[in-house]
């Protein structure tokens, strides 16, 4: 597919045009952070050259999502929520976030039970990804066999140059969106860079399985980490591939909803059972569960590791825990044995 050029000066017009065709989601700043939000012409649109502060997770898997409604006065009917089908354009998603969405597809689409609400969100959205032009300090996508200009999972991609954006459709869905008079065919092509790696390398196959002597007591590896981790939900909420959820029935002023809401394996209540029995009661157990989940358990559960190297967990941690560094050290220690 040929490259098309959009002058930076034409960007506002292009965004206006797109927003007439479908709901448009772009990175915009709100309350101090750049997030993927419905396009608001009054606000400036800034395509960060690298990581967007808040991930794409809530675009496809909202923090609160009704799956059924009921009338509290007559509890004999549960109406399933109807999947959303109106077309949507997602503009400016970086390769790590798109890779994260592809992983989450394994949980909600390519597993034994399909989630039609999530699948509808995915089908109605055209992803026009943006290649990163730099790597931020915590970015380590190259250690997760990704790269800042990786185009997998995108319907179209664009690169930023000094005065323009170079677009290229990757499939028909993307091509349909890029049909615009503002985009002119060009022979100019973005040059591919080779990106540095080796910041937080992890070899999943070398990682010890749950019952390895390296991990189970008397090794104090996880207790040492747990001493300085508060098991708050910040890293799991920031992580684009952490999609654990809880199901809750809620009534409010005559309206009953059964909703899914984000949950975190770091909370002590996450696996606490009615009788009070809690298999992961201690912080160390919860820390171990998250660390091994990302690189060992998800391979067993969904057939792929689930870290895309975006570094948001390291950025958001209120007490300075650096998850990628810890898992890289564990991998090196296990490999060095």
């Amino acid at each position: 597919m040929p490259w098309k050029k959009l002058a930076k000066s034409d960007l506002p017009a292009f965004l206006a045009e797109l927003s007439t065709r479908a709901e448009l989601i772009v990175p915009q700043e709100k309350s101090g952070k750049v997030r993927f939000l419905p396009f608001d012409a009054a606000q400036p649109v800034n395509f960060p050259s690298s990581l967007v502060d808040v991930s794409l997770k809530s675009v496809f898997f909202p923090k609160r999502r009704p799956v059924a409604t009921f009338d509290p006065a007559d509890r004999t009917k549960l109406e399933p929520a109807a999947p959303e089908t109106s077309p949507r354009i997602l503009l400016g998603a970086h390769p790590c976030d798109v890779a994260a969405v592809n992983y989450v597809d394994r949980v909600f689409i390519h597993s034994s039970f399909k989630d039609p609400l999530y699948e509808a969100e995915r089908n109605r959205t055209t992803i026009i990804g943006m290649a990163c032009s730099e790597m931020k300090p915590e970015c380590h996508c190259t250690d997760r066999d990704l790269s800042p200009d990786d185009e997998r999972g995108m319907d179209a991609v664009f690169y930023e140059t000094s005065d323009a954006y170079l677009f290229r459709a990757l499939n028909d869905k993307g091509a349909a969106i890029l049909k615009s008079s503002l985009l002119k065919e060009t022979s100019e092509e973005p040059q591919k860079k080779d990106w540095p790696g080796g910041k937080y390398p992890v070899d999943p196959s070398s990682l010890p399985s749950a019952d390895d002597s390296l991990l189970s007591p008397p090794s104090s590896l996880f207790q040492d980490i747990a001493d300085l981790c508060l098991t708050c939900g910040a890293c799991t909420f920031a992580c684009p591939t952490c999609t654990c959820f809880l199901i809750s029935d809620e009534q409010h002023e005559g309206r009953g909803e059964r909703v899914t809401a984000w949950d975190s394996c770091q909370f002590s209540g996450y696996s606490r059972m009615t009788g009070g029995h809690n298999p992961r009661k201690t912080r160390a157990a919860r820390v171990r569960n998250r660390m091994l989940d990302k690189f060992v358990y998800t391979v067993e559960k969904y057939g792929a590791t689930s870290c895309v190297g975006c570094g948001r967990c390291a950025i958001i941690c209120p007490v300075g825990r650096h998850f990628p560094k810890e898992i890289a050290e564990l991998s090196a220690k296990a490999k060095g044995r």
């Binding site: 009921f70 549960l78 399985s209 019952d211 009534q251 394996c265 009615t274 989940d293």
Partner: protein, 270 residues
Amino acid sequence: MAVELVPRAAALRQVCDESADVKSFTFEFMDSSTLSSLPGQFVEVSLPGVGESTFAVSRLEDGGRRFHVSVKRMGHVTKALHRSAAGETIFVRGPYGKPFPVAAWKGKDILVIGGGIGLAPLRPVVDHILANRADYGKLDILFGARTPGDMIFQADLAAWGRDPGIKLVKTIDVECVDWDGCVGLLPNVVKQQAYRPDGSIAVVCGPPVMIRFTLAALRELGWPDEQVYTTLEMKMQCGIGQCGRCNIGGKYVCKDGPVFRLDQIPSVAL
């Protein structure tokens, strides 16, 4: 495309008291569809506005037209369920989970060990064996409860007791007046009965602590891990391997279990 997390309406046909805090509920789907569950599988039962909980199917009737779950009164949903009466609409979805491989057990002797409410998931196993009696060898049932009053499925126990093809042993934790069965905790009774492992299958289900010590007792009697099946208990919510919470290592108890053969259980669980 149905949203899997949204259950189907079912009519609560019958409620019967099994013990002071356990009731059995008989359901029938409103749309008269059948529940095609196999022994060991579970369903998610929910009351709108209250919540949803996981219960093993404790009996199928009429090819799945009607199905039973036996519920111990423990928390928010079970208390609400215990307040429900026949005729009400309750919501059910499932069946979920990997069943007991009863087909692979053909020709073998079977030892069924249930602790308290743990007998509920095992009753369908006994039902299946009795329905295909010729396919299976000796059937030993060992059922333990805290007190005689906690003995659930009294009618079945009586029937199994009278059946010449079943060796039924009942035990309670502490000596009790006019009690004819054994006395003692299940792991000790297993050792007393000295069940022989040769070529037979053991199925264990009950509270986590009972399972742990009963499995240890079986190991002591020489039972190899591949001949012992158990169910693991974890907090479950979605029941379909998506919400992430019931993992033991890389295995989901709701999808890869709740039935596990002892040698397949990640040791991090025990």
